[in-house]
Symmetry: C2
Subunit: 221 residues, 2 copies
């Protein structure tokens, strides 16, 4: 006899708690752009690096569990986690039946005040060569792809840049995320209509001063 789905169960013969339940964890690829390189925050877990994560508490949403794990392990708050997918391979955790809901989150490098002995950002290129825990390497790949898709046709949706910013600063950010150089003129033509010109100019920089922009308040994409 198998348990009936709640949506199909008018009078379940046994309580939900009579059936075995998995432990549910969250693991988060916390991405940032440091020194023009897209990086992921890794914590040390026994003998190998891993993504920050925690178990889901009772009465807590997945989002709150992610925020709690990042607050505790990285001392940051105010983020917007996005679900990637559930990892459910039966043997993925040797100590029991554990599902992990992989997440992506993003933080400006200047807001990262990490205890360097516990957590540190690593360029995603280098992270690929590390012996990461479980399916964490795959989570990072998913997170990078998801972030690239978010940034492909929008100026800094998360956001990562402090306002106001120049088009050059925006392009440098997009190039770090895309992992490749972008054509300057085409980038400008695509992004400028999506930004709001402040009318001000950058000062104290080398070369001709650049116009400063703000993000245009969300016109629903």
């Amino acid at each position: 006899m198998q348990p009936k789905h709640p949506a199909n169960s008018e009078a379940p013969s046994r309580a939900l708690t009579d059936y075995p339940r998995p432990s549910v964890a969250v693991d988060t690829a916390l991405l940032t752009v440091a020194d023009r390189a897209l990086s992921v925050v890794l914590v040390q877990s026994g003998d190998r690096p891993a993504l920050p994560g925690t178990f889901l508490h009772e009465g807590e949403t997945l989002r709150d569990a992610v925020l709690r794990s990042l607050r505790v392990k990285c001392g940051i708050s105010g983020l917007e986690p996005r679900q990637l997918r559930v990892f459910d391979a039966p043997g993925r955790d040797t100590r029991g039946w554990v599902l992990s809901v992989a997440h992506l989150d993003v933080v400006p490098a200047r807001d990262l005040t990490l205890d360097a002995s516990l957590a540190h950002p690593t360029a995603v290129g280098s992270a690929r060569t590390l012996p990461l825990m479980y399916d964490h390497a795959e989570i990072i790949e998913l997170a990078v792809d998801a972030l690239r898709a978010e940034y492909a046709d929008r100026p800094d949706p998360r956001p990562l840049l402090p306002e106001p910013f120049t088009l050059r600063e925006l392009q440098t950010l997009h190039e770090a995320i895309a992992g490749e150089r972008l054509p300057r003129d085409a980038f400008r033509r695509r992004m400028e209509p999506l930004l709001t010109d402040t009318g001000e100019l950058s000062r104290g920089t080398r070369g001709k001063p650049a116009r400063l922009f703000r993000r245009t308040p969300d016109p629903r994409r």
Copy 2:
């Protein structure tokens, strides 16, 4: 004291099972194209329609749980469920702490042999007006968007059409999924290079016989 994440736990002071765990269910938007309309299979659950679903069993993957629920409730097999996202609002199930992993799956209408008293396909337009269970209306929206994205630039990735097929048949399928008419010539120019011409022609149809195509074996997208 909070439980440590397994990835950070060398010697956990307590076993995983000492902490409260949620029940985990799967719910699936099973989509099909019937009579030129994109439809979703609904089952009756007490007083309202719902998506087919079940609880995750121990040692079972989410994929297997989805396949089991569709086999039991709709008598179909051999599908490819795709995760959409986890629904985790604390109050979403009145009987306890239940997470639901929403899935999308697709089946050709001719393979649907439903017990009509238990399950039946409903056009997604009409389904929007029904009083569905829990978050099932939102799951359907996610599923439709995901399927549209899968079909936007590929001929028949799932697949839904029996081979061989004409470009007209393929276009009718795409129009049902997209929910709108598509320009005939542009559709042809985009899709024909992605198909393999069988060299055969349709027969017994009205008008000029059309060339018959097969899907080109997956060149990785």
